[in-house]
């Protein structure tokens, strides 16, 4: 009964994403980024003449991670700006009135929207990520060691952000929720970079900035895990401890505990969004 409603709303959300301009803007941005990266990698290949040296591997991994960061940014922006309008926008415009007067629970509608957005965000990450891997393979002959895990972590990062976007959109206006979600995403990333610098300098209090922000909003933590899955595993031994400071290289894979926390975080925020939406006067 409720499952039928959830899937109906999820399908509707996907249909909305497909029929609105968001999808076209996303496609244009993604293709631009992929084209740029193809050009960049072919230049890199011409410069180093293959991936024989450690230096070349560092360069390839860094650039791959940089481009993947661009993709994750597009995924984050896209879903955050879909999550806002789909809930807050419908409440604001009155579209939600006729829907929620049906014999359905608000939590089922929220879960359906979440599921639709998750499918959309994950689908985007999988497609664009795979295209990027193929580009790196044809230009440099490099294939990331754990592509599936990396993409899954990237999708998880997108899910964390869109869940946050949904929570925000139960309380504030559609545009504001998108902007705040992306702002927090950026802030956590910067905090992560600062934390990395702290680690490299063995300064505990600076390193803690990164750790704490990665707990509060797990986007950056998941992103670092994804980077680790994309980059060459022999890098760390070759380059040495100095590279903790690089924002586009990661020293360690994610711990299971952190993954568990990220999952719990998503559930908690989703429940919170459900409670806020339940109490909302339309």
């Amino acid at each position: 009964m409720t499952a039928r409603i959830v899937f109906t709303v999820a399908a509707l959300t996907l249909q909305e994403a497909a029929r609105r301009r968001v999808l076209r803007s996303l496609a244009v941005l993604t293709i631009t980024l992929l084209a740029l990266s193809a050009w960049g990698f072919s230049r890199l290949d011409a410069e180093f003449g293959g991936l024989t040296t450690g230096e070349a591997k560092v360069a390839a991994s860094t650039v791959l991670n940089l481009v993947m960061f661009g993709l994750s940014l597009i995924a984050a922006l896209g879903t955050a700006f879909l999550a806002g309008p789909t809930l807050a926008g419908e409440v604001e415009s009155g579209t939600a009135l006729a829907i929620l007067a049906r014999p359905i629970r608000r939590s089922a509608v929220l879960l359906g929207k979440w599921l639709g957005l998750v499918a959309f965000g994950s689908g985007f990450v999988a497609l664009a990520g795979l295209a990027q891997f193929l580009i790196v393979r044809t230009t440099l002959g490099y294939w990331p060691p754990q592509p599936a895990i990396g993409l899954a972590l990237l999708a998880a990062q997108t899910i964390v952000l869109l869940t946050l976007g949904l929570l925000l959109s139960t309380a504030i206006s559609p545009m504001a929720s998108g902007i705040v979600a992306v702002g927090l995403f950026g802030a956590t990333w910067i905090a992560g970079v600062i934390g990395g610098v702290g680690q490299a300098l063995a300064n505990d209090s600076v390193a803690r900035v990164g750790t704490i922000s990665q707990m509060l909003l797990p986007t950056d933590g998941l992103w670092r895990g994804a980077m680790h899955a994309f980059q060459d595993q022999t890098l760390f031994t070759q380059v040495g401890p100095g590279f903790g400071a690089s924002p586009f290289l990661s020293q360690a894979p994610l711990t299971t505990a952190y993954l568990g926390w990220a999952g719990l975080w998503v559930v908690l925020v989703l429940v919170l969004a459900g409670l806020a939406f339940q109490r909302r006067d339309l």
Partner: protein, 333 residues
């Protein structure tokens, strides 16, 4: 539970019984039953102790000035707004259970439908959400009923305002409801559309579908409603059948040569007002067949010259204005 009962006055006696009954004993016959609804928005009290019922198959009009709380009451009934106090039953089920809305169709005051869907897709979506199966042909017939048959495949985003309201009517009717709640269903419609809606309401009435209709078009309400509930400042100012509310008849007379004896005779027929040679006598709800001829004969006998005699019924509009202008005192009448 003290406020509303005491305040509603004579016309609310219909509802008083319901309010004191425990929920389990209620007759299953009411389409809407609500009691003691209260809602505050920050400092603004929108609804203050509203209770009323809509029987199965009954058409009830919800009237009142702007800001009286009509839309808020409707949203509370549908679970779209959380009341601060009060109880709602829809078609015999507590409105806390979403399934209570299974047989309810709703046209919101602010009607907007997914602009990226076509009209036919919007209806299909609502049928799925309502948990019923309605064949495509019936859905198409429903669109035809509101005059959108040839626009079924067009995106709602390209619809005019009136077309969106027509679509909203189709949405309210498509899942074979037993209760239809319409919040100003003709606010964006052309005169032809208004006539269509009137016919539609009459056909719903004929099919024993209960309707709660909020409208500022009193003529519309007067023509289709069995009963009206008049809200003012968040409270029920009056409620009852049209016959009860409009029961008072009056007699308009144009007379000259009226002396004190003639005035006494007029007063015996009912309270009257005089404006030079025009007299208006308020008659009881059910005057005897002989009341008017006897009065005229007696006046002639007293030497009064009778120019015109015109029996009249009070219109709902006049009555509404009466009630609203009289304000709070009217409630205790």
């Amino acid at each position: 539970m003290t406020g509303p009962t005491a305040r509603l006055g004579a016309s609310a006696s219909l509802d008083v019984g319901a309010e004191e009954q425990p929920i389990a004993d209620l007759p299953p016959s009411s389409a809407v039953w609500c009691s003691g609804l209260r809602k505050r928005y920050r400092r603004q009290t929108a609804v203050d102790g509203v209770s009323f019922t809509v029987g199965r198959g009954e058409v009830v009009g919800l009237l009142g000035p702007n800001g009286a709380g009509k839309t808020t009451v409707i949203k509370i009934l549908l679970g779209l707004v959380r009341p601060d106090a009060g109880e709602v039953l829809l078609l015999g089920r507590s409105a806390r259970d979403p399934q209570a809305r299974a047989g309810v169709g709703y046209l919101p005051e602010l009607f907007r439908y997914q602009p990226w869907l076509s009209a036919a897709e919007v209806l299909a979506l609502h049928v799925r959400l309502a948990g019923v199966t309605v064949p495509a042909a019936e859905r198409r017939a429903c669109l035809a009923l509101v005059g959108l048959a040839d626009r079924a495949g067009d995106r709602v985003g390209g619809f005019s305002k009136g077309m969106q309201q027509r679509l909203g009517l189709a949405v309210a009717l498509v899942a074979r409801p037993d209760l239809v709640i319409l919040d100003e269903p003709t606010s964006a419609l052309d005169p032809l559309g208004r006539a269509d809606v009137r016919d539609l309401l009459l056909s719903l009435k004929a099919r024993q579908v209960a309707v709660l209709l909020n409208s500022h078009l009193i003529g519309e309400v007067e023509r289709v409603c069995d009963r009206v509930v008049i809200l003012d400042k968040g409270r029920v100012a009056a409620s009852g059948t049209l016959a009860e509310l409009l029961g008072r008849r009056e007699l308009r007379l144009r007379l000259d040569g009226v002396d004190s004896a003639a005035e006494e005779r007029l007063a015996a027929a009912g309270a009257f007002t005089r404006d030079r040679d025009s007299f208006v006598v308020a008659l009881p709800a059910d005057p005897d067949a002989t009341t008017v001829p006897d009065l005229v004969a007696d006046l002639v006998g007293l030497g009064v010259r009778v120019h015109a005699v015109e029996p009249a019924r009070i219109s709902l509009e006049e009555r509404l204005l009466d009630i609203l202008r009289a304000g709070p005192t009217e409630e205790r009448r």
